[in-house]
Assembly symmetry: C2
Homo-oligomer: 335 residues x 2
Amino acid sequence: MTKINLNLEDARDLANRCLKHNGCDNANAAAAADRMIEAERDGCASHGLFRLPWYVSGVKSGRVNGQARPRVTQLAPAVIGVDGDGGFAPLGQKIAHDALVGCARAQGIAAVALTNMFHIAAMWPEVEDLANEGLCAMAMTASYPYVAPAGGIKALYGTNPIGFAWPRRDAPPLVFDQASSAMARGEIQIAARDGRPVPITAGIGPKGEATTDPNVVLKGAQLGFGGYKGAALAMMVELLAGPLIGEMLSFEAAKDDAGRGGPPKGGEFILAMDPALFGDPEGFLDHGERLIAEILAQEGTRLPGARRLEQRQKTPQAGITIPQSLYQEITELLA
Amino acid sequence: MTKINLNLEDARDLANRCLKHNGCDNANAAAAADRMIEAERDGCASHGLFRLPWYVSGVKSGRVNGQARPRVTQLAPAVIGVDGDGGFAPLGQKIAHDALVGCARAQGIAAVALTNMFHIAAMWPEVEDLANEGLCAMAMTASYPYVAPAGGIKALYGTNPIGFAWPRRDAPPLVFDQASSAMARGEIQIAARDGRPVPITAGIGPKGEATTDPNVVLKGAQLGFGGYKGAALAMMVELLAGPLIGEMLSFEAAKDDAGRGGPPKGGEFILAMDPALFGDPEGFLDHGERLIAEILAQEGTRLPGARRLEQRQKTPQAGITIPQSLYQEITELLA
């Protein structure tokens, strides 16, 4: 596969122009382009420019609002509602971030109910942004029905990731963002594309049969990580990122989509806490570092997100590479 | 093993008298006895009267304060601190519950930092109590170093459970309370006692070697459920139930205990949200029921906690059974 190299600013400009050329206004295009380039910067191509044609098709079909004006509502002293106005998630998330930081610093803990948005992508950027403000953050989102409930065989829950970030002293935040399923949906799709088997724990076939064939899992159901415990987390995420915030459950989102495809509609639950307003305002940062030192003192360990941080050091100089075919596709969307 | 049957009120009275006879005042004894009997009522013997001699030895040795007066501090508008005054957890939890319910209903979301308490037991009672008030709740606690970090082989994290509860319409709350480790510590100890192997995923030996021998796991380290993902959750719980709230990390608790044994000292992080102050005040209960109906529509599924609720129907009439030897031991503690 022929690849081409772009520096980060050119890549950002490309995404930005492409979105604006296809129906996004400045604010919506910039927010979406920034999120894609953050992903590329950190070596996470599956959330990078790869998504751009899909975003464009969402706006062009009229399903996604490229002129979205997310609206902030103070639902309670420590709860903020952000209605994404049917646009892509990044602009709503940006507006939610600013509101949430202020609220968490005033109240000690605060939550955001983000609704009516398209394509909640990886959540590590938003929890990391909050931890860069000195806050501890969690985020959850549902998606489409991919994962069976414990004991069942039919897909009901999304892969339902949980993101978490903890602020550090003199280091980027400690961040993880992991699906409640044994594998991410995309990992199974890639295994299917490449003809590789998946672990027996990844999923089951349509009749509940054990399988390592990714194509059979894609027709059947994925399983929670660690079995019933991951499924319980997926259930929790459905409730928090669905009924609690006032958004669709994964199975409802699939019905709403009605096979039209494109980026899924949904919402996100984000939580931020200011450790300076908890039990150990002076000591919490150093105390967290003592745990991290113990982790890293063991041979073979690394912190979650370490690979992203390594890439982040490299890409500002080295640039990023994308397939020539993707570059061609984007260029045509600019014509 | 000879067993004897007790009705719930007699069992509660026995626990209450035994704690009072051995150094607890009325409030501390009643709170601890109530928690033990709740566990017995729900068929969870490992958190029931089985714990009573251990509690008594904690008070008798002077390590645990049987006259504890937990102190409530409003750390921020949505954050409450409860210092357990070195007593058993149940009294502090009871006081935290009342403060947290009021705060969550006023702020929409609120957290409690419980510290300086002994033996945070199963957490489903406290999250269920909060959901019985119409709130959605989460709870986390660290313990002693039992679980290896991802990639490592030495025990660092506690088994670090996460409890969750969601309020239901016309039914007891949906509740789970699960360790971040593949198995609970007690399950491995019981397998060792009974000479049964444990799954290969449960843990590793002291040199990191794969094993199904529970005795080897007890000398080595447990593993997170689903491998590195469970370990990441255990890390999150350490940070929230440690540095955030201002309590010891699991490895610090082990040093503090210095081999004296008895119930571990520590704290608990509890979160409560009032869905009536989030995005769908009118609809959230019915919306949650729609997810639950979809779960139960699949053959083979059951909700987390279903077994506890079945027992809860039976024990008020049938009473509970405890080993004759335990009854004897308790009776001697009353002499």
